[in-house]
């Protein structure tokens, strides 16, 4: 694994420090202590429980225990119609909720063999990227809180309000827009949306610069995150890490660019960011760059918005023909996909929801061995999960 900024000496010194502690713990014959982090805890984004066995300050064994927020989504989708499922899946990743609807709607459209008109595709992509900005800007603020810097969190909430207001003017809902429909969108954009979006994107770029200065460029932040929680490339692929976690381990894979979907990402000129290190700093850094890139995508798409209808001709009561379809997109948290099995009914027969955070957290037992207690928080913060996404 080639590293760019992280010297081998730094890695070795970190590992050597841990090994020295481990040797000392063995010599002193101390007893391990089992600690429950969560389910109520300031650090976990929700009700995640991690059971760690500590030897002093070093983790010997760690195991996340999920399910405190399990709502049984896959069972619930079996008794709902397709528009009702759209409402349901909003709530999987609640910070960037429009992005949850899109793969499901695309899968249903694939089964029906229709495509949304170009204007709807554009607007879908714009709203998708807006929800990415909303989601990751909160991550950047929350990152500071996990590490002890309380101030960036307030900037995050303040600046995220602009994006949420945008989403609200377009869809009517800040957190759960429920805006996507099979064949297009529910409504067209309101007047003034284009100018407002340009203003908000400028503000979000300023916010990203602020976070770059305040947090990512801070020496203490770098000391806390460099070399911590290194995920090598092959381990990342094996566990199915996706999104920024995968790109931070050096894998150049972005589902917006690497597959053909009826969305408008290929109409904009943007870059995929990767980082060779695979440590916590790399993950945080990649997400910051992605947020900036998302603002650029929105700017370009909002300029070239095509005219036309926003809804294809679909019957009022939608019965999706029988078949199976899989669509996955590059959601803010990673790769989110839906495998929709339809039997020609009003609702799906089976929906398998592939959520990104489930795979992202499954690496925790492997990754958390041998780290110090503060590093647990750093690693979890950099892996970034949302409980609704893990537990569905």
């Amino acid at each position: 694994m080639s590293t760019s900024d992280l010297t081998e000496r730094q890695q070795l010194s970190y590992i050597a420090g841990q090994a020295a502690d481990a040797r000392l713990n063995v010599e002193l014959e101390t007893e391990g202590m089992t600690l429950n982090i969560g389910p109520q805890h300031p650090a976990t984004h929700g009700t995640l429980r991690i059971i760690v066995r500590l030897d002093g300050e070093q983790v010997v064994w760690a195991e996340p225990s999920c399910g405190y927020m399990h709502r049984g989504y896959e069972k619930l989708t079996e008794v709902r119609t397709y528009p009702q499922v759209t409402t349901l899946v909003n709530r999987i990743d609640w910070l960037g909720s429009f992005a949850n609807e899109v793969p499901f709607i695309l899968a249903a459209e694939k089964l029906m063999d229709i495509e949304a008109p170009p204007r709807a595709q554009h607007i879908r992509t714009i709203l998708f990227e807006l929800s990415r900005i909303a989601n990751i800007s909160l991550f950047l603020g929350d990152l500071g809180v996990q590490l002890g810097a309380v101030t960036p969190a307030f900037f995050a909430f303040r600046d995220r309000e602009h994006v949420l207001n945008l989403i609200e003017t377009a869809t009517g809902g800040r957190f759960h827009p429920n805006f996507d429909r099979i064949g297009g969108l529910k409504d067209d954009l309101p007047k003034g949306f284009v100018d407002e979006t340009r203003r908000v994107m400028r503000k979000m770029r300023t916010y990203c610069d602020q976070i770059d200065d305040l947090l990512i460029g801070n020496e203490i932040f770098k000391a806390r995150t460099r070399g911590v929680g290194i995920v090598p490339r092959d381990v990342a692929l094996q566990y199915g890490l996706s999104g920024a976690n995968l790109r931070a381990s050096g894998v150049d894979y972005d589902l917006r660019r690497d597959q053909v979907l009826p969305m408008a990402w290929d109409k904009a000129d943007w870059k995929v960011w990767t980082h060779p290190d695979g440590d916590s700093f790399a993950r945080c850094w990649v997400r910051l760059q992605e947020t900036r890139e998302a603002t650029k995508i929105v700017d370009q798409l909002i300029d070239g918005l095509p005219a036309g209808p926003i809804m294809a001709k679909v019957p009022r009561i939608i019965k999706v023909p029988a078949g199976e379809a899989w669509v996955s997109t590059e959601n803010p948290l990673g790769e989110m996909g839906y495998y929709v099995v339809s039997k020609g009914d009003l609702g799906p027969f089976r929906v398998k929801i592939r959520s990104a955070s489930f795979n992202n957290i499954s690496i925790a037992p492997w990754l958390l061995r041998g780290v110090y207690v503060p590093d647990i928080i750093t690693i979890l913060a950099s892996l970034y999960f949302i409980l609704g996404d893990i537990d569905r």
């Binding site: 307030f154 203490i220 110090y372 503060p374």
Partner: protein, 350 residues
């Protein structure tokens, strides 16, 4: 108290001293909490802070004190009850003991030890005991982790603090805090006495080391591993609520104030302005109104230094425990030792 014409009997003087001590501890605490914690931190985070209680939220502190006082007196069932209840008081006691030796004016002091600095440093480490005891007796794994971290950190950062102060002592030639103040205000820099001789100029390295060590002694970010809110909830304070948490809270900010007072005495010239401004020669020729002006000047200097401490607190993420220790042992202590050597050489040779 020669300023007053009346003779105050000894018990009266002691009572005044006690009241003065309480004011000297609680007034800085309250001011720092309101101005810096409620308002300055809020403005830096682009929000307003408490606005409801009183005009511009000025009564918020009283509201909070009242709230905590009326809470239930909880102690975990498995905690060691007597020690659990004693721990916050130990921390607060060290603050009161520390303020006893700070001079506020030419005659406005509580005690005037010849070994004031030695006493101050010794007493400042009593709070470490309180924190350890709190962490251990809480019967809570998070508190235990916080207490263990505090043990390592606070003991490690005692040393740079003491070593930084030694430079001041060498330069002033005395451990008596009153004489240190006089040495700064009556002194001169290369013959020009317009500014006196505040030790922050010559002991700049010592000043920086002292402030960093103070930040760590107070377990403020970036050195707040013992509290580490996102990991340990509240560290050693987790199980404390109501009145006992109020004591910890007051003790934390009172200690910020008192350490700022100590630092202003040691480095910024204490209660005085340069004597040359008023034509005073020595401590005896200082006018009596300075006994009233002195505390005000001390308050101002304390606010300046507390501002520094609080500003750093809200800005930085926290160090990890081993990085903390490495910083103390491998960076601060060698620097402060070098500072002592250079000071001693210059004092003797120049």
């Amino acid at each position: 108290m020669s300023a007053l014409a009346i003779e105050i009997p000894y018990w009266g003087q002691s009572l005044l001293r006690v009241l003065g001590g309480i004011v000297a501890v609680l007034l800085p605490a309250g001011t720092i909490v309101y101005v810096f914690l409620f308002k300055m931190m809020s403005f830096m985070q682009s929000r307003l802070g408490p606005m409801e209680a009183g005009p511009y939220g000025s009564m918020q502190l009283f509201a909070e004190v009242g709230k905590w006082l009326q809470k239930e007196d909880l102690a975990p069932a498995q905690a060691d009850q007597r020690i659990f209840k004693m721990a916050p008081l130990i921390v607060l006691v060290s603050t009161f003991l520390l303020v006893a030796v700070i001079p506020f004016g030419p005659d406005a002091w509580f005690t005037n030890f010849d070994v004031g600095v030695f006493y101050a440093m010794a007493v400042a480490s009593i709070s470490v005991l309180g924190i350890l005891v709190a962490g251990w007796s809480s019967a809570n794994k998070y508190s235990l982790l916080g207490g263990l971290r505090a043990a390592g950190q606070l003991i490690a950062y005692e040393l740079p603090m003491v070593l930084a102060v030694i430079g001041v002592v060498i330069q002033a030639g005395s451990m008596n805090l009153q004489e240190i103040v006089v040495a700064q205000n009556a002194g001169s820099i290369f013959g020009w006495d317009g500014l006196g001789n505040p030790f922050v100029l010559t002991q700049f390295v010592g000043f920086v080391v002292f402030m960093i060590a103070v930040q760590a002694e107070l377990t403020q970010p970036p050195f707040d591993m013992p509290i580490a809110e996102s990991e340990l909830v509240s560290g050693y304070m987790t199980e404390y609520s109501g009145f006992r948490f109020l004591i910890f809270f007051i003790a934390e900010f009172a200690t910020v104030g008192v350490f700022s007072l100590v630092a202003s005495v040691l480095f910024l010239g204490g209660w005085g302005v340069p004597f040359a401004w008023f034509g005073w020669d020595s401590i005896d020729s200082v006018d009596d109104w300075m006994n009233v002006g002195g505390p005000l000047i001390m308050l101002t200097k304390m606010m300046v230094l507390s501002f520094l401490i609080m500003w750093v607190r809200f800005s930085f993420p926290r160090f990890r425990e081993d990085q903390l220790q490495r910083f103390a042992w491998k960076v601060l202590i060698p620097i402060s030792l070098a500072n002592i050597v250079v000071t001693a050489i210059i004092k003797v040779a120049v």
